[in-house]
């Protein structure tokens, strides 16, 4: 890994990346209603400018020799207490700059889309303030030069996510979902915080440069503990098992939020954290194995549940859970997979954001309806949405030569390449999930865009008729751009190892398989394609050839029932945590009044004869300062005499 050098020249102005969106958020929040007229334009402008500035930084960095591509920019000293010197500074390296482009690029497109999507909301300005707050925090998360600055961005994006999930605060479900997201994230955050405490205890620093340089001095147990705690943080933020259940609920937020925060950027922060901490994970094989296991469980779990939902956004949400599982699995493979995880993260950023924006466009056209059973035959009504959505769909299921084909297959291949039982278990899990992905996505596309127009016989929530229509240009153009990305990003990034080579100064060189592994690369590609094709065919046979009922069929076989219930993840939370928690709260509130306080009052009664008399006596007593001083003096003298005698 290259040396870290002090930032100079263009790199020393990188603080602008944070300052621009933060400035936008501040103006919009403080300005209030006065900025209603132009607030959204300011929001968009600051993000577009940040993107341009990110591009300048990126191009500047590509012009440098590889040894100078990791730069450290000290801004000010944040928390200095003796050995603890927490810097507020930025680390500019290929990994962070790649994220900067993703965040500001996709973020900018979604900002533009939101102008149209939120045009009927009287609080649109505040929405843009929150989006800007999110972008600023997310940029700090990836640009921060130590674990504490990362933590600041980490909880900052959690706050923005909370505010945006709860946007429709009238709905109790939205407010509850927002709270749940923040809480489950906090569980992960505690893991991250404890990892920081351990690192400081052992290495006396929390800055990346020093931590990474000294990581090899840590004992095996410490490394595993740190890796495990960082993984806990990653699970919270990225919706990985066992902290996955907040992410589908987060779909209560406006759809651009789901696209930006809960698909393309924030939920990938866990992958970033593991990739960023590669010098730690490189040293602990048990830590890496744990990451792979979590990734494999999650990618299967997400894909299975995704098959059972009828809510278009929830299917996409579980798809996101599953795809991030792939990324986790990749980065858990260490030097064989860090770069692959990032490649999939980027290509997923394009096609999943595009899919969500497409879903938003459908909802926009269908009076905010999300139940796919009420859709159908929307292809002709909204062709641009349908085509861009279709390209995203093909990219996601790994259709040959589109993005997912390159980025997802590489991960499945790397999983098989491990050889032994691990190769078979993790490789097969990833390949089977690819088949499930093809199934649930095909089901979604058929139910939404093809078949009979089921909405024709239905009424909207307000009792009116549905009038599906194509979205305005301000919404379709971002969708078109993202669709182009879904088609080309995978090939562009992977061919010739373009991205992997660029990331080498941050992640180390990408290692290729040296042995045969469990299956040869050709066999893996063939297996994945066959499974995906099978998923598509089954979906067409099962859904496309039959009438889709407007009400979901009940009762159903137990596997479907289990999937509809999120494989009982929520039930488990409820029985293990929520109910006992409520009971404990009730019990303690009661006993605090009757127990602790009752005991005290009881003692007072015992001493004073009756609490009323005591109260009266004491009231009279303290009324007079002189009397109280006299009492004090008497006690003083008595005490003095006592001590004298005993001494």
């Amino acid at each position: 890994m290259g040396n870290v050098i002090a930032a100079s020249g263009v790199a020393s102005t990188a603080w602008l990346l944070l300052a621009l969106p933060a400035f936008g958020a501040l103006v919009l929040l403080i300005g209030g209603r006065r900025t209603d007229g132009w607030g959204h334009l300011l929001g968009v402008a600051t993000i577009v400018l940040a993107f341009v500035w990110g591009l300048v930084e990126f191009l500047h960095a590509t012009g440098l020799p590889a040894a100078q591509r990791v730069q450290n920019l000290h801004l000010f000293t944040w928390i200095p207490v003796n050995a603890l010197q927490v810097d507020f500074g930025l680390r500019l390296d290929p990994l962070s700059l790649t994220f900067v482009l993703l965040i500001t690029g996709v973020g900018g497109l979604i900002h533009i889309y939101s102008i149209g999507y939120m045009s009927h909301d009287r609080d649109r300005r505040r929405f843009f303030a929150y989006l800007n707050l999110f972008i600023a925090s997310m940029l700090l998360l990836v640009l921060g030069n130590g674990y504490v600055t990362l933590y600041l961005g980490w909880e900052g994006v959690g706050l923005a996510s909370y505010l945006l999930i709860g946007w429709y605060s009238d709905r109790p479900s939205a407010a509850t979902a927002a709270k749940k997201a923040f809480l489950m994230n906090r569980v992960g955050d505690v893991g991250l915080a404890l990892a920081i405490f351990i690192l400081f205890a052992k290495l006396h620093t929390t800055q990346y440069t020093q931590v990474f340089a000294q990581a090899h001095t840590l004992s095996g147990g410490t490394l595993t503990a740190v890796a495990l705690l960082l993984l806990l943080g990653a699970c919270g933020k990225s919706g990985q098992f066992p902290l996955q259940s907040w992410l589908p609920d987060a779909m209560e937020g406006p759809t651009p939020v789901s696209a930006l925060i809960h698909a393309a950027t924030m939920v990938t922060a866990g992958v970033y954290l593991v990739a960023r901490s590669n010098p730690i994970y490189d040293l602990t094989s048990s830590g890496r194995l744990l990451v792979v296991i979590i990734g494999a469980i999650t990618l299967l779990l997400g894909a299975i549940i995704g098959c059972a939902y009828d809510d278009i956004k929830k299917v996409l949400a579980y798809s996101t859970v599953s795809q991030i599982g792939y990324m986790m699995l990749a980065v858990g493979l260490g030097p064989f997979g860090y770069a692959l995880g990032i490649v999939h993260l980027l290509s997923h950023g394009f096609f999943k954001a595009g899919l969500f924006l497409g879903a938003g466009s459908v909802m926009h056209a269908m009076d905010d309806e999300t139940d796919m059973r009420r859709f159908g035959a929307l292809f002709r009504r909204m062709p641009i949405t349908a085509v861009t959505f279709g390209l995203g769909y093909l990219a996601l299921i790994g259709f040959p030569f589109l993005s997912g084909f390159y980025s997802k297959d590489a991960i499945i291949d790397a999983a098989f390449a491990q050889g032994g039982w691990r190769g078979w278990v993790f490789g097969l899990a990833a390949a089977i999930a690819a088949g499930l992905t093809a199934f649930y996505m095909t089901r979604l596309v058929i139910m939404t865009f093809f078949g009979p127009a089921r909405w024709k016989d239905l009424k909207t929530a307000d009792g009116g008729d549905y009038h599906p229509h194509e979205a305005p240009a301000v919404m379709t153009i971002p969708m078109i751009i993202l669709a182009i990305g879904s088609v080309g990003a995978g090939a562009y990034l992977t061919l010739g190892h373009r991205l992997a080579d660029w990331l080498t100064p941050s992640l180390g060189p990408l290692q290729e398989r040296t042995t045969g592994g469990s299956l040869s690369p050709g066999a893996v590609t063939a297996l994945t394609l066959v499974l995906a094709a099978a998923g598509v065919v089954v979906a067409i046979l099962a859904i496309g050839r039959r009438q889709v009922p407007v009400r979901r069929p009940e009762p159903v076989a137990w596997p479907i029932r289990a999937a509809r219930n999120d494989l009982y993840g929520n039930t488990l939370n409820e029985t293990l945590l929520a109910r006992p928690g409520q009971w404990l709260t009730g019990a303690l509130v009661f006993s605090d009044r009757r127990g602790v306080d009752g005991l005290v009052n009881g003692i007072a009664k015992a001493f004073g004869g009756s609490s009323g008399r005591l109260r009266k006596l004491q009231t009279g007593f303290v009324r007079s300062y002189a009397l109280s001083m006299l009492g004090g003096s008497i006690l003083l003298i008595a005490a003095l005499l006592l001590v004298r005698f005993s001494g």
Partner: protein, 537 residues
């Protein structure tokens, strides 16, 4: 014995008299102000203006004192001393280290804010605003005295005297159950104080038997008694411990706090929870740790258990409260647990964290209380969460400030409280990993109780008996939310002025806490070295 004598001999070098006039002025200005204010008994407006003017002058003095403070210089600065009771070696002596200095700054910053927030306080029948404001100024002087006293007997006297204005502020100006709350508060604190007095006298007596001359001078006592046999130290430790564990309430000495906070007028509550209770944590540091370092180390597990119990117990009970003022009291119980954890882990970072926690908790909890008071003004005085709903729509700015105070309460990074909670936990982890891991559960619970309260009060449809009743009863308008909207105003310009300085400090200290840390850090070093076997990080 020779060791002791050199220790005593070096004591004077650790104090510096520079700037004593500033401290003297800090002590006298509010007292003189209180007398002045009572002259305007019949003219409430003038009385209030005079009080506010005095408190602003006091704050300016405190700011000036920062410039007289020499960071990294003598341990105790601004020192001055006069004999009081010569035969017992009692002095009237004052002085401040960095810890006392930031607390004095905090007090003088909060008092103008509190006076502003109490401007339109509805006082009970027959009570004058002049009396109310004069009592607050008196309390200010006494609190500054407590933090700057350098004679143990003087500290005791001021510690008890401080109760008197607070007793009247709660008992005469508070809510329905004010009498009960005030007496309970007084009894608890007073009894704790008496135990402390016994310990102080015991310490005096021990030192007298060793050196042959009795004195209550803190530095001299520290130099001698810190070498006393362990069992002596433990006995003496206990008296101070009870006084401070009641004051900065630790479980199970806390039951006076919810009653006092709930019954006290909002502004008085801010001073009670925000400043007065901090004397307990300050006392642990200045008296327990420094006078009895061996006992502190021996008894640390007991304190750590109480600290963690307070964090978890306070958080869980807070989650179950619907009275917002009692909620704040239980949240504070949890926060005092964090402070005690930082103090009794004996590390530099943990202790600096605890001291900055004292300041940051004042800001966060103070603002939360002020906001609750402002909500209550709009809802016929109700502080019950179930009386409200949808404030975000009705009064977005008020709800926004409420939310910010909540974020600071749950120690979100970027707010002031994060810095201190992070330092406490990071520092404690170095020596007490098990207690620290248990304490981090409090981080999760904090998110739970804050966001749950906020959801009930600010989210959802506009709702609430109290609010709608102001507008003329639920039947008065067909759309109750519209009827309410007409009557309920968002924050007035004056209210914004009162809250703005707190908002600014919350964010400023979140991103740039360095000036605060730099003042506190060297003073903490002395305490940590005194109590540590080997030096911390």
């Amino acid at each position: 014995m020779t060791v002791l004598h050199t220790a005593v001999a070096t004591t004077p070098a650790t104090t510096s008299g520079n700037g004593f006039p500033v401290l003297l002025a800090l002590l006298l200005v509010p007292l003189v102000g209180a007398v002045l204010v009572t002259l305007f008994r019949n003219d409430a407006r003038t009385a209030k203006l005079v009080a506010l003017g005095i408190s602003v002058v006091e704050f300016a003095l405190a700011v000036i004192s920062i410039f007289s403070y020499h960071t990294g210089g003598a341990r105790i600065q601004f020192s001055g001393s006069a004999d009081w009771v010569r035969s017992f070696g009692v002095h009237i002596s004052f002085g401040m280290d960095g810890i006392a200095l930031v607390m004095v700054l905090m007090i003088s910053f909060l008092v103008p804010v509190v006076l502003g927030a109490s401007w339109d306080e509805k006082l009970p029948e027959g009570r004058s605003a002049a009396g109310f404001f004069a009592l607050i100024l008196t309390l200010e002087a006494l609190m500054i005295g407590v933090f700057s006293a350098t004679d143990v007997f003087l500290f005791y006297v001021l510690f008890e005297l401080m109760l008197i204005p607070m007793y009247f502020l709660i008992g005469s100006y508070g809510g329905v159950n004010r009498r009960y709350a005030a007496v309970k508060f007084f009894l608890y604190s007073f009894l704790g104080g008496l135990l402390m007095l016994a310990s102080a006298i015991g310490t005096w007596s021990y030192v007298q038997s060793v050196t042959g001359s009795g004195t209550f001078d803190w530095a001299t006592l520290t130099a001698v008694v810190s070498h006393a046999p362990l069992h002596t130290q433990i006995w003496l430790f206990m008296g101070f411990f009870f006084a401070f564990a009641i004051k900065a309430p630790l479980v199970p000495f806390h039951t006076w706090l919810p009653d006092a906070t709930a019954e006290a007028p909002t502004g008085v509550g801010v001073l009670l929870v925000g400043v007065l209770d901090k004397v307990g944590i300050f006392g642990f540091l200045r008296y327990n740790l420094e006078l009895y370092p061996d006992a502190s180390r021996t008894l640390a597990p007991l304190l750590l258990v109480l600290a963690v119990a307070g964090i978890l117990y306070g958080s869980i009970v807070a989650a179950g409260q619907s009275d917002m003022k009692r909620f704040i009291a239980y949240v504070s119980l949890a926060h005092f647990g964090f402070m005690a954890l930082g103090v009794f882990a004996f590390t530099q970072q943990g202790t600096v964290g605890a001291v900055t926690y004292m300041v940051n908790h004042s800001l966060a909890t103070g603002m939360l209380l002020l906001v609750v008071g402002m909500i209550a003004v709009r809802g016929r005085g109700s502080v019950r969460a179930e009386d409200y709903g949808g404030l975000m729509k009705l009064t977005p700015i008020l709800a926004g400030v409420f939310f910010l105070a909540g974020l600071s309460t749950l120690s979100l990074p970027g707010t002031n409280s994060f810095v201190s909670e992070f330092l406490v936990l990071l520092g404690s982890y170095q020596t007490q990993p098990v207690y620290t891991i248990l304490a981090t559960i409090g981080m999760i619970l904090a998110a739970l109780y804050v966001l749950w309260l906020y959801q009930r009060v600010a989210h959802g449809p506009i709702r609430g008996n109290a609010l709608v009743s102001v507008a003329g009863g639920p039947g008065a308008a067909t759309d109750p939310s519209l009827g309410a909207r007409k009557m309920i105003r968002d924050l007035s310009g004056f209210e914004r002025m009162v809250l703005a300085p707190v908002v600014v400090l919350i964010l400023l200290l979140g991103f740039y806490p360095k000036p605060l840390l730099d003042i506190v850090n060297p003073s903490v070093t002395a305490t940590v070295q005194q109590v540590s076997v080997q030096e911390g990080n």
